[in-house]
């Protein structure tokens, strides 16, 4: 059941209505039924994977707790629990790995074996990829790690745990929640609040605006440019690449807004997954603002453990002794590299995603290594760190880096991505501006479509600026006089209904991050 379907809109409206009609005590049961009903709509077979993960992680966590309660010593308990955790993680990541990466690995290995002319090939198989598997697997393993670390108690109610892993608004594209943030809210029955309902539905509408009016409109041009980049000039390729960066942000954050909005309408407050990522002034800062639930997961369960691992300490000592300045940073390089490679791979099976991970990790490592040199340059050139123009420069520079980086994940191959990047080195501004209308139309959108898309992006940008300044948009709107509020909301509704890309001929109903 796609978020972009009348069926889903009727479904979530019905769930919200039934939620408030159900006695407080049993509201979580309704959510569980709705969530499994939603998941079932994507197939019975895929539901078995979810049930299996739920059972394994639930059982594993209970087992760890039991070991902790009955062990002779803390050390012995930790040792046993570590094994349980590893087994659990192996099983869950194993399923994810096989379903998502097997064919990619087999295909590449076959190519490699073929080079040596051995008569052997790994079979390629048609595997199903359960909806949201990357998201619920990470959420499940995160929960297990937290139980292992003793940060949370293992859930005793299997059904309530099943709800934590299957809460329907987040099944399509996350976010990845921590047990402590989500489960208590799901269990608790929330009293009806008109403010929550209004704010929630406003957020859903805003999500649809971003998805249908911006992302899916940009998608036409993006598909065109990435599909046959060799027929476009440098400026057109660059426009396609920039539009893709906007598309993926509007698409993903739009979906997350819908998720958060539906939850908020039922009184469940979910933290945001984005904090204006394209306003980040460095690549590292960008990643602190983009898909925060995933990057935080990586930080807490991959980066920190690696950074504070015994071997990192050893490397650090050696580095400080032998390499002076860089040596101090050395313990951070390996975790950074591993983390970003994992982030790249998490996004999908393909060399483009691996290249994307490598691209980000190398940029961050180099920028860390070159920080002293940069600081020296800034000092010599008297660049004031807080100056507006300098901050703008940093933001544009970071955005440009991400535009190029994201091209690796969207192009058909790394070769194509590099060819596109190369094309943008030859920008003929004179020719472009002299024939701007035909150049833009050739990209794949007509005159009116460009006007509407540009206006929608400007609205999105303006809202982002306000949010960056700390303005809570919906609270601010709610303080406006009634006619202003209604004009804004009905205007947004009109924009979605009229300018939204849906209906006959529309096929991109799934979200980009649904495939990750």
């Amino acid at each position: 059941m796609s978020f972009i379907s009348a069926t889903f809109i009727v479904f979530f409206m019905a769930v919200i209505l039934l939620y408030y009609l159900t006695p407080l005590k049993y509201r979580w049961v309704l959510l569980l039924i709705a969530s499994y009903g939603f998941y079932l709509s994507s197939g019975v077979k895929v539901m078995l994977f979810l049930l299996f993960t739920t059972a394994v992680v639930y059982g594993g966590a209970r087992w760890m707790e039991s070991v902790r309660d009955h062990a002779k010593s803390k050390k012995a308990a930790k040792k046993t629990n570590k094994r349980i955790l590893l087994l659990e993680a192996l099983v869950n990541f194993g399923i994810l790995f096989v379903l998502k990466y097997y064919n990619f690995i087999a295909d590449n290995l076959n190519g490699l074996i073929g080079m040596f002319k051995y008569d052997f090939s790994m079979p390629l198989v048609n595997l199903i990829l359960p909806l949201g598997i990357s998201f619920y697997t990470f959420q499940a393993v995160g929960y297990s790690i937290d139980v292992y670390r003793g940060k949370i108690k293992a859930e005793t109610n299997f059904l309530q745990f099943a709800l934590f892993l299957s809460f329907f608004p987040q099944m399509t594209q996350g976010p990845i929640f921590r047990y402590g943030d989500l489960a208590p809210q799901l269990k608790e029955g929330h009293k009806f609040s008109l403010t929550n309902l209004k704010f929630g539905l406003e957020l859903v509408l805003w999500g649809y605006f971003k998805k249908l009016v911006i992302a899916d409109a940009a998608s036409t041009a993006v598909t065109n440019v990435f599909g046959r980049y060799d027929t476009f000039d440098g400026m057109q390729v660059l426009i396609g690449m920039v539009l893709y960066a906007i598309q993926i942000y509007a698409d993903f954050s739009g979906g997350i807004d819908m998720t958060r909005g539906i939850a908020q309408a039922m009184g469940i407050n979910l933290v945001d997954n984005f904090r204006q990522p394209y306003f980040g002034n460095s690549v590292a800062e960008y990643w602190r603002r983009w898909h925060m639930s995933m990057t935080n997961w990586m930080r807490d369960y991959v980066f920190f453990p690696l950074t504070f691992a015994h071997f990192s300490t050893k490397i650090g000592k050696w580095g400080r002794h032998h390499l002076k300045t860089i040596g101090k940073q050395l313990p951070a390089y390996i975790p950074t590299f591993v983390t970003f490679m994992l982030i790249g791979i998490w996004h999908g099976a393909g060399w483009g995603f691996i290249a994307f991970g490598l691209y980000n990790s190398l940029i961050i490592i180099f920028s860390m290594a070159l920080t002293p040199a940069f600081d020296k340059c800034k000092s010599v050139l008297h660049i004031p760190e807080e100056a507006f123009w300098w901050r703008c420069f940093q933001i544009i520079r970071t955005f440009a880096i991400m535009v190029y980086g994201k091209t690796l994940t969207r192009a058909a191959s790394v070769h194509d991505a590099l060819a596109m990047m190369k094309a943008t080195l030859h920008l003929d501004f004179g020719m472009f501006f002299a024939n701007m209308k035909s150049e833009l139309i050739a990209v794949g959108l007509h005159g009116r479509q460009w006007v509407v898309l540009t206006a929608a992006i400007l609205i999105f940008f303006t809202v982002s600026v306000f949010r960056e300044k700390g303005v809570h948009i919906r609270e601010a709107v709610s303080r406006k006089p009634l006619p202003v509020r209604w004009v804004l909301i009905l205007g947004l509704l009109t924009a979605v209904l009229v300018f939204g890309v849906y209906g006959e001929g529309y096929s991109s109903s799934s979200f980009i991050y649904r495939n990750y």
Binding site: V452, W486, E504
Partner: protein, 363 residues
């Protein structure tokens, strides 16, 4: 406590007002972003729905072979009969049953139903727009849903190259909202005043054209088999008509009929008569002479009469109806002013159009 109660009441009122406003907005958008139809189908349906309940003596259903032929206001002026024309371009036969059902909802005591049979001919387009001109403009109801389902089944079996996603027929807005990027103009923002001005008759500049080189065809009595789906739809329609209390008359209006088409229409007539219905076939020597049809002046093109020809056709058909239909059931008189105004409007428009085009005004 009192303050709290007041707050709740205000909130509830606010929510209902907002929902009403949103519903109004959506209804307006649905109206604005409808199919751009240059063949006045939307106006025809709007005009029909605007007829006071139980006020019509009959309806005339069909393709352009009806709305370019039957001038309801002239039949009204001369005989007082109010027979509204629900004609839409290339109207598929399969939908005619549902148009009758729709009409009977508000006009259950009509005396006569006229059905044009030109679409039973061989070949002819099977376009999505032909279907949409009817289904998009019908009011939301079970009948409309049934009409859509029946038409899609008919099209599918006839290998019609159209979209078969029912949602786009149930909710045409899903398809047409994207018109903003193409042919949408500021004028479209004002969807008001879209009633058919002449009770379903279509008069425009083309109605004044007098095509000179139209020659009378050679008529034949031979027959040929109908296309299976058309035959099935016709028989289904006949069976349905057999259940009605109204007098149902099938009509084949005159045009420069090719031989193959006439053979198919002759076959249709044979089938219709076998079910006991009357057929008025104007594609014969005797009928064209009886209506005083002038092949050198009365056609705008080979397939349609101009205004002068339509007047003759209307006079002939109305005279027949006067003699053969029992118009005795008393009707709601509140529509009289509406019909008088439409008649006056047509006369005025005809005069103005001929004058504007520098042509001689027909007497």
């Amino acid at each position: 406590m009192k303050e709290n109660k007041k707050k709740i009441i205000i909130s509830v009122v606010e929510v209902f007002l907002f929902l009403a406003l949103a519903a109004g907005l959506v209804a307006y958008l649905v109206d604005v972003f409808a199919m751009e139809d240059y063949n006045h189908a939307e106006q025809v349906f709007n005009g029909f729905y605007d007829q006071p309940e139980d006020s019509l003596d009959g309806i005339y259903i069909g393709s352009s072979a009806s709305y370019r032929y039957w001038i309801p206001t002239e039949a009204y002026d001369k005989y007082g009969m109010k027979i509204y024309c629900i004609g839409t371009a290339a109207q598929p036969i399969v939908l005619q049953k549902y148009i009758i059902k729709e009409a009977l909802k508000t006009q259950p005591d009509m005396d006569v139903i006229l059905l044009d049979i030109r679409r039973t001919r061989i070949g002819g387009s099977l376009g999505e727009a032909d279907m949409r001109r009817v289904t998009d403009n019908m009011e939301f109801s079970d009948n409309r849903t049934e009409a859509i389902n029946a038409a899609l089944t008919y099209y599918r079996k006839s290998d019609g190259q159209i979209s078969y996603n029912k949602n786009y027929y149930y909710f045409p807005f899903l398809l047409y909202h994207s018109r903003w990027a193409d042919d949408f103009t500021l004028e479209d923002l004002n969807p008001a005043d879209k009633d058919a001005p002449f009770m379903g008759y279509m008069f425009d500049d083309r109605g004044t054209v007098s095509k000179k080189n139209i020659v009378q065809p050679t008529y034949t009595t031979e027959t040929t088999a109908l296309e299976p789906q058309k035959k099935k739809a016709l028989i289904d329609l006949l069976k349905y008509c057999g259940t009605l209390k109204q007098k149902v008359i099938f009509v084949s209006s005159p045009y420069r009929i090719p031989k193959a088409e006439q053979e198919a229409i002759n076959e249709s007539i044979k089938i219709i008569k076998s079910y006991g219905f009357d057929v008025l076939n104007y594609n014969t020597d005797s009928m064209t002479k009886a209506m005083n049809l002038d092949w050198s002046t009365d056609f705008m093109n080979g397939r349609h009469l101009n205004y002068v020809g339509a007047s003759k056709y209307t006079a002939s058909l109305a005279s027949y109806l006067e003699k053969h239909v029992d118009f005795t059931i008393s009707k709601n008189k509140t529509s009289t002013e509406l019909w008088k105004a439409a008649s006056k409007n047509l006369k005025k428009t005809v005069r103005a159009t001929y004058k504007r085009l520098g042509k001689e005004i027909p007497s």
